[in-house]
């Protein structure tokens, strides 16, 4: 399956997000808004691309 890249990226994003939630200062807010959020988005896109490919391979799509 090999989702290690996505998983690591997501961990970084989760940590940033948690930090912001615990310490809502401008710097963490900026990190969350400008970095963690896009990172979550990228992870989700990569994951969905993989799902899409697998489904294509199995002729589901």
């Amino acid at each position: 399956m090999g989702l290690r890249v996505e998983a690591w990226a997501a961990i970084i994003a989760f940590i940033t997000t948690a930090a912001f939630i615990v310490w809502p200062n401008p710097y963490f807010m900026a990190l969350f808004a400008f970095f963690a959020q896009p990172l979550f988005m990228i992870v989700a896109l990569l994951y969905l691309r993989r799902v899409f490919r697998e489904l294509r391979k199995k002729d589901v799509l």
Binding site: M1, A7, I21, P24, F40
Partner: protein, 230 residues
């Protein structure tokens, strides 16, 4: 029971839990070796047995879509509800003069008058600085993000100054139509200018905040205005 009703705390706890859960899921996904992903290895979930592969696929879906989405949503709720609070604006030091002045009972700026007379009882910054309607909210968010980027990257100079002009509509939302406002013939005569923004309410009613000069480092008032509030 009280702590349960405290929404910000609840959100905080939920958000952190969600993030920790997300991290755990991701960690598990990393730890999973290729071998354990065979179709033959079964995972028993009490109510049903599924293959390890399918189980991990489910975990991935949870981590990357469900929990991630939840964390982002909670954090954003935290952003959007938090930033309405004066405390949140005050967390950038350049905004401190505005807040310190506003909460100073002897100050005569427009903001201080609205504050000390409780004309606006909470979320004072947000109430005056967010245009009405959905577009206004969107604009406020965009401005907010821009300010955040500028502030955290240090790409600003003190004293800060708005590149735009204040939207007088925000004043009018409360004042227009009141007897005190309509009684003044000048207001009626200036209606056009006030509604298209070419005229400013501040012209006659005074500065809203400390002046740029006062907010410039080195000014006699600067240190007082910059003092850390609670």
């Amino acid at each position: 029971m009280n702590w349960l009703l405290d929404l910000p705390t609840l959100v905080k706890v939920l958000g952190v839990t969600s993030c920790v859960f997300g991290i755990a899921l991701c960690y598990r996904l990393i730890r999973v070796g290729r071998d354990s992903l065979s179709r033959d290895k079964m995972v028993n979930l009490r109510i049903a047995s599924i293959s390890a592969l399918t189980f991990n696929k489910l975990l991935a879906f949870m981590a990357f879509i469900v929990v991630a989405g939840m964390s982002v949503s909670i954090a954003n709720y935290h952003v959007f509800s938090g930033v309405k609070e004066v405390r949140s604006c005050n967390s950038c030091h350049v905004m401190r003069p505005m807040v310190n002045d506003m909460t100073d009972p002897s100050s005569e700026t427009l903001a201080a008058r609205h504050f000390s007379n409780k004309w606006i009882s909470s979320q004072q910054c947000y109430t005056c600085h967010t245009d009405y309607g959905l577009a206004g909210t969107l604009k406020a968010k965009m401005d907010g993000y821009r300010h955040l980027a500028r502030y955290t990257t240090g790409t600003y100079t003190e004293p800060i100054a708005s590149p735009s002009v204040y939207n007088t509509d925000n004043c009018m939302q409360c004042h227009a139509g009141t007897r005190k406002f309509e009684m003044v013939s000048s207001h009626i005569a200036l209606r056009k200018g006030l509604s298209d923004g070419s005229l400013s309410c501040l012209n006659c009613h005074g500065s809203a905040h400390p002046t740029r000069a006062q907010r410039t480092p080195g000014h006699p008032d600067y240190n007082d205005l910059m003092k850390q509030g609670d």
